[in-house]
């Protein structure tokens, strides 16, 4: 798989505090990667490292295959954009002037696509209104518009919906999906809002105390979060054979434990398995949301 971003045992230490600790992350091309972690887990620090605002203490990262220690990393960065915490905008300038400045900073010869970008983020009609008079959602969209100058194919958004009203959240969500689908832009999005993230992310990374606890694609996570029967059986081989025969989706966890992702009557199942010399010792019906999955993953007593 082609990775846009890879980190390899990345570490960032402030004095004696390890903000990022031996972190490995992989973001595939075209993905919307949701970075999930509680406050102080290291999300923003990780983004700052990737964006070149801070240098790693140990470890490396590669963007489009170019390592951070390579001088060519500066050229590669031209293909990315980012909004870290707050959008980088000139408050005393209009949306158009903000974009024009970005064109100049990037050394682009003309203001081609400027109107197209404004239209894309829905800021076409702001005219001479200065950015300081924009709503929070408009500022966030302007930040994304600035990041879109130069046609990047990798965007990093740190907490993009923080402080937005429901309408603003929907606007940003739709914009991200549109950019991902129409322009093929890869996203790295950190957020506290798990439910919101679950509506757009194609991959997830769970981070805790500066460590990557788990990276998981959406499909796999959905499978894990799906309603299931958690069974402890006496004869796992016969049980598997039965599920194969019936073409029920399942997952073997151990020699005794198996998850069945097919909701059926437990009595019927128990009878069917007993005919195959397999007894159900314990069963539990479970269904997880992204939030409960996250909390279970983090040990149950942490909260986002």
């Amino acid at each position: 798989m082609e990775y846009i971003l890879e980190t390899n045992q990345l570490e960032k230490t402030y004095h004696h505090f390890k903000a990022i600790n031996d972190l490995n992350m992989h973001i595939g091309k075209g993905a919307i990667y949701g970075l999930i972690g509680k406050n102080g887990a290291g999300k923003t620090t990780l983004i700052r490292l990737i964006c070149g605002l801070q240098n790693p203490t140990k470890g490396t990262y590669t963007i489009y295959g170019i390592q951070n220690t390579d001088k060519r990393i500066l050229d590669v960065r031209k293909r990315m954009g980012a909004i870290i915490e707050t959008p980088s905008i000139r408050l005393d300038a209009t949306a158009e002037d903000n974009l024009k400045e970005q064109y100049r900073i990037m050394g682009l010869p003309s203001f081609d696509n400027l109107q197209e970008i404004l239209k894309l983020v829905g800021l076409m009609d702001t005219g001479k209104k200065k950015a300081k008079h924009f709503s929070l959602g408009m500022k966030q969209r302007l930040g994304i518009a600035i990041a879109l100058v130069g046609n990047p194919d990798f965007l990093i958004l740190d907490e993009p919906i923080n402080g937005l009203d429901p309408e603003g959240i929907i606007e940003i969500r739709e914009l991200i999906l549109k950019l991902n689908k129409e322009k093929g832009i890869t996203f790295l999005i950190s957020s506290h809002y798990l439910d919101e993230l679950s509506k757009i992310a194609t991959d997830y990374g769970f981070i805790e105390n500066g460590r990557m606890i788990q990276e998981i694609p959406k499909e796999e996570l959905e499978k894990k979060c799906k309603k299931r029967l958690e069974l402890e059986v006496s004869n796992i081989k016969e049980c598997v054979k039965y599920f194969e025969e019936k073409q029920f989706p399942y997952e073997v966890i151990s020699n005794e434990k198996i998850y069945l992702y097919h909701i059926m009557n437990v009595t019927e199942l128990a009878i069917a398995l007993s005919e195959k010399n397999c007894i159900i010792n314990k069963f539990e019906e479970k269904e997880e949301s992204l939030e409960s999955y996250y909390i279970n993953l983090m040990g149950g007593d942490n909260h986002v």
């Binding site: 402030y14 700052r48 605002l53 500066l74 990315m80 954009g81 980012a82 980088s88 100049r104 900073i105």
Partner: protein, 286 residues
């Protein structure tokens, strides 16, 4: 770096701080001119030497204000972060900001000189000093501006808070002024001073007597070197040298020293910029 400079200059055109400083410069030049013209009414034209270079005494505070606010805004609105994210090197960002401050410094100094020259020459007379000396003074002034810009760019880029960096830059100018004043008596002390007495024939005789407060050659040279390295110190020395009265027993900057004074500013600039770039490249940005 050209792209960053271009973006900075476009921003400059719409920058209120820059235009505010330009207006203040025009007001200062007009006030100094008017004051000098009124004081010299009916006298022989004394020339514009004294007032032409006077602005270098004020320019530090304006460069401090401009640099800390203009460059500081880069931090506060996230533009600096944005430049790094899209692949501009920190070294280029540093030099582009420093160059912008230098250009602004030279620009306001030029505005002042132009006003004094255009209005001052017809009313107060032409330059009394030699063209060669004037050109060396201009060279020194340019390097003093560069030194100021390097100091304030360094402070502003190493301090992420715009309020703190603005206060720090202004305090720094004041500290440099105080240090310059404190050092000037040591640096300008003469070995001897002249006493005058009348002999029996009624003639005035001049005697040279040792100065009891003379700090010694070593101390004097150290004080002088520090004074020339500090932009405020060098500026005050140049202004005092031009304004020096014939009988003053103060050892101001000599004409030869005037010719090489820019080297002190250059040395200061290289050291400060070297330290600034080194630290800025390693600074953790938020």
């Amino acid at each position: 770096m050209y792209k960053l400079l271009k973006a900075n200059f476009f921003r400059l055109v719409k920058n209120k701080i820059f235009w505010g400083i330009v207006i203040i410069t025009i007001l200062i030049a007009s006030f100094i001119l008017l004051n000098t013209i009124l004081n010299h009414q009916g006298e022989i034209k004394a020339g514009i030497d004294n007032i032409l270079i006077m602005y270098i005494n004020f320019i530090g505070i304006f460069i401090a204000m401009f640099t800390s606010l203009f460059v500081g805004t880069e931090y506060s609105d996230g533009a600096l972060r944005n430049k790094i994210v899209i692949g501009h090197s920190r070294k280029h960002i540093y030099f582009a900001n420093m160059m912008t401050s230098i250009v602004v410094g030279i620009c306001i100094e030029l505005i002042y000189i132009l006003i004094i020259t255009i209005v001052g020459i017809p009313t107060l007379g032409t330059l009394q000093m030699s063209t060669e000396k004037f050109l060396f003074i201009v060279l020194d002034i340019i390097f003093i501006i560069i030194a100021y810009a390097s100091i304030f760019t360094c402070v502003t880029l190493l301090c992420s808070d715009i309020t703190v960096s603005t206060v720090a830059c202004i305090i720094l100018v004041l500290v440099m002024l105080v240090v310059s004043m404190a050092l000037s008596s040591t640096a300008n002390a003469t070995k001897y001073y002249e006493t005058y007495s009348q002999n029996e024939n009624g003639e005035i005789e001049v005697y040279q007597e040792p100065n009891p407060d003379y700090p010694g050659d070593f101390k004097k040279n150290v004080a002088k070197t520090i004074l020339y390295c500090i932009p405020t110190g060098q500026a005050s020395q140049i202004v005092s040298q031009v304004n020096k009265q014939p009988f003053q027993m103060i050892d101001y900057m000599s004409d030869n020293e005037l010719k090489i004074a820019f080297l002190y500013s250059l040395g200061m600039t290289v050291c400060i910029t070297g330290i600034g770039v080194y630290c800025f490249k390693r600074k953790d940005l938020k």
